[in-house]
Symmetry: C2
Subunit: 210 residues, 2 copies
DNA sequence: GTCTATATACGGATAGAC
DNA sequence: GTCTATCCGTATATAGAC
């Protein structure tokens, strides 16, 4: 019995161990700074096995990148396309879901954003990001609210920027903010918990302002 | 006469050319992904000269990193410590200054944030970031406004997170947002110009909400 | 499938001529 | 100060035994 992170009673396949290790190391250090040796070590396997299963560092990275992006946005897609929930309720759920997710995996945002910058086209083509937003129930609700005068700023992109900025930015700037506030992970995470409740209130107030 | 970016009538020293090139390349690709050869090429000089002037890639990087951080925060320091301006006016100036700055140099935020993550301690020790905020006139004004009931959320870190999130995040997520909104640099920059005016309004509204 | 050993390429850095 | 040529460590990837 080895000491894996995910003990589900059964052994995890070598392929899965490598992927899991790759996820951890890529997320933490980014593509350029990670060495295949780091991944092999993290996975507790031989370096040659990495190439045996995944051909190359590049191929392995593409898989991790895609899965990370997909995982991140599929959740948002589900929330934003819920026919039954109000706009405000969607904001609450996005804030709550993402704050929980990112507290668990704090490296994801900066990993995604910096790797997207490094390869803008390659990565965005594969995912229906635009449709996710522009064809969503959320988008229709936003438009209705604008038409009804309940939201002053008509451009939904500002809405998205504000919402994601309030949720994601604190994590992206985590080390800086911890230094500024002289707090550690515990205090920081508590602040993020506060934000679950505050962000919907703030967004509501912002959107009514002009 | 060579074709430099900064034609001030006089030749730029080789050392300065290398630093300028290093700034561009490091900002664009980050430490790990840049090769000293890239910098030499960008500078139009021989690779050996880089080591002649700066000993190593690492030393050169440290210089660029420090100057970038310092340049970024010194401006904020000036604004936040202005005795004469109101809290609201400070928000306006920070938003306006940084949106202009980042439009000119869009790679800076993600460069700073990802490199800070990679070397948290090394970089934060050198700069008086904490004092910049916690000892600032801004901080005192914020506290007064809280005591007077004009601001509901008492923690100044939330204020900083919100302000920087609204300003910086759109740039950090630029490629993603452009894809979502199906816009290009021109349209994106226009949105950022809009935000110069809107962010102070939004911040004002948020801070009064509870 | 998994290992050891090794081929091959690349990138940082230096030696030494000019 | 600036160049060419080159050294050398490191990282990816593969060959081949088990």
């Amino acid at each position: 019995m080895e000491k894996n992170k995910k003990e589900k009673g059964l052994d995890v396949s070598t392929e899965e161990k490598i992927k899991e290790a790759a996820r951890v190391v890529f997320h933490k250090k980014g593509y350029a700074a990670t060495r295949t040796r780091d991944i092999a070590e993290e996975a507790g396997i031989n370096l040659a096995l990495l190439n045996y299963y995944f051909r190359s560092k590049e191929k392995l990275f593409e898989i991790i990148m895609f899965e990370t992006l997909f995982g991140f946005f599929q959740n948002m897609g589900l929330v934003l396309n819920d026919e039954k929930s109000t706009l405000q309720h969607k904001v609450e759920r996005v804030a709550s879901n993402y704050i929980d997710l990112i507290i668990k995996e704090p490296d994801i945002p900066i990993f995604m954003l910096s790797e997207i910058r490094n390869r803008p086209d390659v990565l965005l083509v594969k995912l229906p990001i635009r449709q996710l937003i522009m064809n969503s129930v959320f988008f229709q609700q936003h438009r209705k609210a604008v038409d009804a005068g309940k939201i002053k700023e008509p451009d939904p992109l500002h809405f998205i920027m504000n919402l994601l900025g309030l949720i994601v930015f604190p994590f992206v700037a985590g080390p800086l903010l911890k230094e500024m506030g002289n707090i550690r992970d515990e205090g920081f995470n508590q602040l993020m918990q506060d934000r679950k409740k505050m962000i919907p209130v703030w967004i509501e107030a912002m959107m009514k302002a002009r």
